[in-house]
Amino acid sequence: MNKIASLLAALALSVGVQFNALAVDATAPDALVKSVTDDVITIVRQDKAIQSGDTRKAVELVETRVLPYFDFAHMTRLAVGKDWKQASAEQKTVLTQEFKTLLVRTYSNALTQYRNQQIDFKPLKAKPEDTDVVVRTEVRQPGAKPVQIDYNLEKLADGWKVYDVLVAGVSLVTNYRDSFGQEVRTGGIDGLIKSLKDKNKQLDATVSAKK
């Protein structure tokens, strides 16, 4: 009797484990955002170097923990807008690379300003068959109105990927569209690439100067 009971228990356990493994494979978009956010915050909380403004370490953290879940080609396409069509395949690759560098540099730095804010996750409003969803979160801090942060995710073959982040309703991606359009009008796609490269070099210089 006992044997059967323990056998059943083992069976239930193994089914449970298998089921879990399946669930992880097809992580829901809100669960994905939550696990990445929790992950990053736990690290920042313990890392004195990042808290005291070590940009290089913050960039490293973002590159290993956050970047795999972002679709930069899509982000760049959105930021460039209608001029994207006139870019060659090679220009598209360079644009994506430079834009990625700029975003990672800038917003990794924002991580160094994290001071124990609390992040609330809103329930996901999406149907199971949706392939494009918004995950809503709110950052709470004492003495201030909560800041709304929304993540736009798209379901791709290798899982959900973030393609836009909106802070207080402002898209970090489309916010670039006006300036990018301006650059393309004056110097073409290559002009835009050059401006992005210059900007990244300049940021690099300030980071090294700080060290």
């Binding site: 003495g143 201030a144 709304q148």
Partner: protein, 243 residues
């Protein structure tokens, strides 16, 4: 009697003057620029002025203020937040959001009493959420368009609609009702500094992120206000350029 009315009338006229100028200039702006920014050359000049003023005065002052202990800063934020909740409630009522408006009234009652003149935000802990409304948003919710983008001296990004709203906001602002100029100016100065200090950090991020800070801030402001008018749920349009 006549004399005591003078300053208010005059200050209103002074505040309206730039708007008149802006409107006049809108009419003669040329084509080719940003569709929502016909005053771009003037706005860029004001923006440059604001940046300089910020760099040498506002930001340094905010940095000193930022050394104050956190509980003190939270108290200051709560105090001005409580004062602001009255007008926020009025605007919620004007927008037909009666539950929100009543909740704002409840916030003021709770925070002005139990919260020690608004220094503590007890209402939020009781579940009465803080809202963010102003006359510009109310006008927006009534369907008033934004009009041209305007950079106001010292105050920064705005639109014609929001500038008109701002005049109403100031007329209704409890801080501006103080008869003693010294008290009024100290309070508005403190409030301004507190707000500026809360943006420390975000300002460096914007500086680093932007290829052209003027354009970045313009785009930021317009998106931010649209989001506010729709209370955080602006219509989600599928991007025509995203294929």
């Amino acid at each position: 009697m006549k004399n005591s009315n003078m300053p208010a009338t005059r200050s209103l006229a002074v505040r309206l003057a730039p708007l008149g100028l802006a409107l006049a200039l809108t009419a003669c702006a040329g084509a080719g620029g940003h569709p929502r920014d016909p005053l771009e050359p003037l706005n860029r000049a004001t923006f440059a002025f604001n940046e300089t003023a910020d760099k040498y005065v506002m930001r340094p002052v905010a940095q000193v203020y930022d050394y104050a202990p956190l509980p003190l800063k939270v108290g200051v934020g709560n105090f001005f937040g409580n004062i602001g909740d009255v007008w926020i409630g009025v605007n919620n009522l004007l927008q037909g959001k009666f539950v929100d408006g009543l909740s704002d009234g409840g916030r003021v009652l709770v925070n002005s009493t139990v919260g020690m003149f608004g220094l503590f935000d007890i209402a939020t802990e009781l579940g009465l959420e803080k809202h963010d409304e102003d006359l510009g948003q109310t006008l927006g919710s009534w369907g008033v368009g934004e009009g041209p983008y305007i950079v106001l001296p010292f105050l920064g990004p705005s639109t014609l609609r929001d500038s008109v709203g701002l005049i109403g906001d100031l007329e209704a602002d409890p801080v501006w009702q103080f008869k003693e100029v010294a008290v009024r100016n100290s309070l508005s100065g403190l409030r301004f500094t507190h707000r500026r200090a809360s943006l420390l950090g975000a300002d460096t991020t914007a500086e680093q992120a932007a290829l052209d800070k003027y354009g970045y801030m313009r785009s930021f402001y317009l998106q931010y206000r649209l989001n506010q008018v729709y209370d955080g749920q602006p219509p989600r349009v599928k991007d025509p350029d995203d294929e």
